[in-house]
Amino acid sequence: MIYDPRVRGIVFQIVLVALLVAGIWWVVDNTIENLRRSNITTGFAFLRGRAGFDISDRLIEYSSDSSYGRALIVGVLNTAAVAAAGIVTATILGFLVGVGRLSNNWLIRKLATAYVELFRNIPPLLVILFWYQGVLALLPSVRDSVSLPLGSYLNNRGFYFPRFVWEQGAWLILAGLVTAVALSWYVARRARMRQMATGKQFPVLLTSIALIVGLPLLGFLISGLPVSIDFPQKGTFNLTGGMNVKPEFLSLYLALSFYTAAFIAEIVRAGIMGVPRGQTEAYSALGLRSNLGLRLVVIPQAMRIIIPPLTSQYLNLTKNSSLAVAIGYPDLYAIGGTILNQTGQAIEVVVIFMVVYLSISIITSILMNWFNTKMALKER
């Protein structure tokens, strides 16, 4: 009987569970003892307490009188902001570099390769610090701000650019935009159905552009030009007005985008090379021009290879945004750390970290899995 694999399996699992339970019990016991000694009450009640620290970069109203819970929300939003901006930029840059690595142009190919090999092999934290302390900190002070086109300025306090001020009646523009997007979607659907049925094509792209530009413009004109632009004004000590992107955000955003783009480029290259050469030959045999063939034949097949690893790169970028703490950008991790230092609620803070990051991971994977099934090979 002791040689029966099933019996062995059951015995092994029972032993494992017993060991695990004993281990957890030991850990919990020690933790309770330690917490009792240092007079820390457990539970999430502390979240309602007054935070007492200020946060420089925030997307919602917050002051030092706000609660710890609100501070954490500010942190989550900051993490989301830098991750979203980084994902968009890294995707665009990554696709460009990835296609560049397959270019017929020798110079472009070599440059793209150099980019990938350079950024893939350097720690992201180093890139962040390089931007923060090596480049952005050296920019001139407010008084000698570098003027950039469109009334924007660059100095060691960040990047200042004009801001739209929405006045009375501006909702018409937004309404126009929403209607335009909905209409374009409808037009695209109808056009596809008509092409399936009759083979006639409809200029979907042109119509959509006309709709998306035209309708908000119409709203803008009808409601009597309700938008003004607030330019940053140069004062002696500070720039007032406009929007400001702080150097912390800029360095984190640039570093994460550049770093992740190198990986995305490799994924894109692998995806395009994964499409068999016969496909290219087949579309030219059918008489499709190369850009049409790329769009209709190669890219849809390449996307199937690209999407799964792309998802994990997006998740990596989001997780790497926690490096913000090294330069003082108030993301979830940095704010959680401050709260931990003030209250000593180590377990609760770590639980919050785990929950937030895990839910970001899960939401991203669900979205990308949905997109993946949509793109996947439909075998009929």
């Binding site: 017929n104 142009n105 092999n121 934290l125 390089f130 490096l323 991790y333 180590a346 770590v350 991971s361």
Partner: protein, 386 residues
């Protein structure tokens, strides 16, 4: 026999003509590779312009305009900042790197004890190099020495406290040495642990499988910073009062656990790629589970995922920089500390110089690893690939 008039047949070979001028030589290469279409030409011109603008800048900054000697910050300051250099000067400040080189390598390890670190490094290279070169014999003995004996020798050499060696506490460690210690331990621990976890995840025992999945997914879902944070703040809470952990040890535990979760997923990919026939073949030979895994499945699976394993190693090597956040000083940590906390070398160019130096070191290590893995991949390729 009738005579034929064969005058229309050539009696001598025609001279070979040179290839058309448009197909050979430098000009043709340029036309083909840089200017084949108008769009290509535009791209090439843009790239050439960008290079012509940036490369001289970079070379000037790195070498021609750089300062090479000096005792302190005044060597790298312009006249308006209180130094000797012309206004508007910008260049690397290399004396900062050479002046702090010892710190960058060893941290605050006592000067008179640094030979121990050097000796460990020499041992490391002496054991690693023959392991990496395929032609050198005695691989088994070498591997036992490198993975089984070397860690203990290194531990006693670096920590000391025995055989008359002075005890050097870990807060004094720093620099490249800490980076290498963390990566070595991470690699040595994560590979076997990762293999075990991957086998656990594919196990038929439900509880083992569940526990492996929970561990892997929980660790992979959070950033390494959070894992390190847990290791440094929560580990002390988990053990009986009075029992303390060394800070470096906590970081090591964090990095090793984190890397093994990623390693497990890489190995699982390899296990999934092994055809079912191999498992059944091993079963039909009457091999037990561990024999089957050890002799049949793992050698094939691991060979398949060498690129993934090395990628995980490279990722881990880069991730060692994050210990900076729990205030430990690896190479990047020491460089940063010297940049922001040391007035002797506080100049506008110091930060850039220091980070370029650190980047170069990290780059050489990571690039070397990736090139070696490509070489290994080609060598082990038995031609099963399509």
């Amino acid at each position: 026999m009738q005579e034929h008039d064969m005058s229309w047949v050539r009696t001598e070979m025609a001279l070979a003509q040179a290839a058309p001028r448009s197909q050979v030589g430098f000009g043709a290469w340029v036309r083909k590779n840089l200017f084949s279409t108008p769009f290509d030409a535009a791209l090439s011109l843009l790239a050439i312009l960008a290079l012509a603008w940036s490369v001289p800048h970079i070379l000037n900054w790195l070498f021609l305009d750089a300062v090479w000697t000096g005792a302190d910050r005044t060597a790298c300051l312009t006249t308006e900042q209180g130094g000797q250099l012309p206004a508007g000067w910008s260049g690397a400040c290399w004396p900062f790197v050479s002046g702090r080189f010892g710190q960058f390598m060893f941290g605050r390890y006592p000067l008179e004890e640094r030979w121990r670190v050097v000796l460990t490094g020499i041992l490391f290279i002496a054991l690693l190099a023959p392991l990496l070169i395929p032609k050198v014999p005695y691989k088994g003995l070498n591997a036992i020495l490198f993975f089984g004996v070397f860690p203990f020798v290194a531990f006693f050499l670096l920590v000391g406290g025995v055989f008359g060696l002075r005890y050097v506490e870990t807060p004094l460690w720093g620099g490249l040495m800490v980076t290498l210690v963390i990566s070595y331990v991470g690699i040595v621990v994560s590979l076997p642990l990762g293999i075990l976890l991957a086998m656990g995840r594919r196990s038929k025992m439900p509880i083992v499988k569940l526990l492996s999945v929970i561990f892997i997914e929980a660790v992979r879902g959070v950033p390494l910073v959070t894992v390190l944070f847990m290791a440094s703040f929560m580990l002390p809470l988990f053990v009986p009062p009075g029992m303390t952990f060394d800070k470096l040890l906590r970081a090591l535990i964090g990095v090793a656990l984190f890397a093994s979760a990623y390693m497990a997923e890489v190995v699982r990919g390899g296990l999934q790629a092994i055809p079912k026939g191999q498992y059944e073949g091993a079963d039909s030979l009457g091999l037990g589970y561990w024999q089957k895994m050890g002799f049949i499945i793992m050698p094939q699976a691991l060979k398949l995922v060498i690129p993934g394993i090395v990628n995980t190693f490279i990722g881990m090597f880069k991730d060692t920089t994050l210990v900076l956040i729990i205030s430990m000083f690896d190479l990047l940590g020491v460089v940063k500390q010297n940049i922001s906390g040391d007035p002797t070398w506080a100049t506008p160019q110091t930060a850039k110089t220091g980070y370029v130096f650190a980047a170069a070191i990290f780059w050489v290590f990571c690039f070397g690893m990736s090139r070696y893995s490509q070489y290994m991949e080609r060598r082990l390729d038995t031609g099963h690939k399509r």
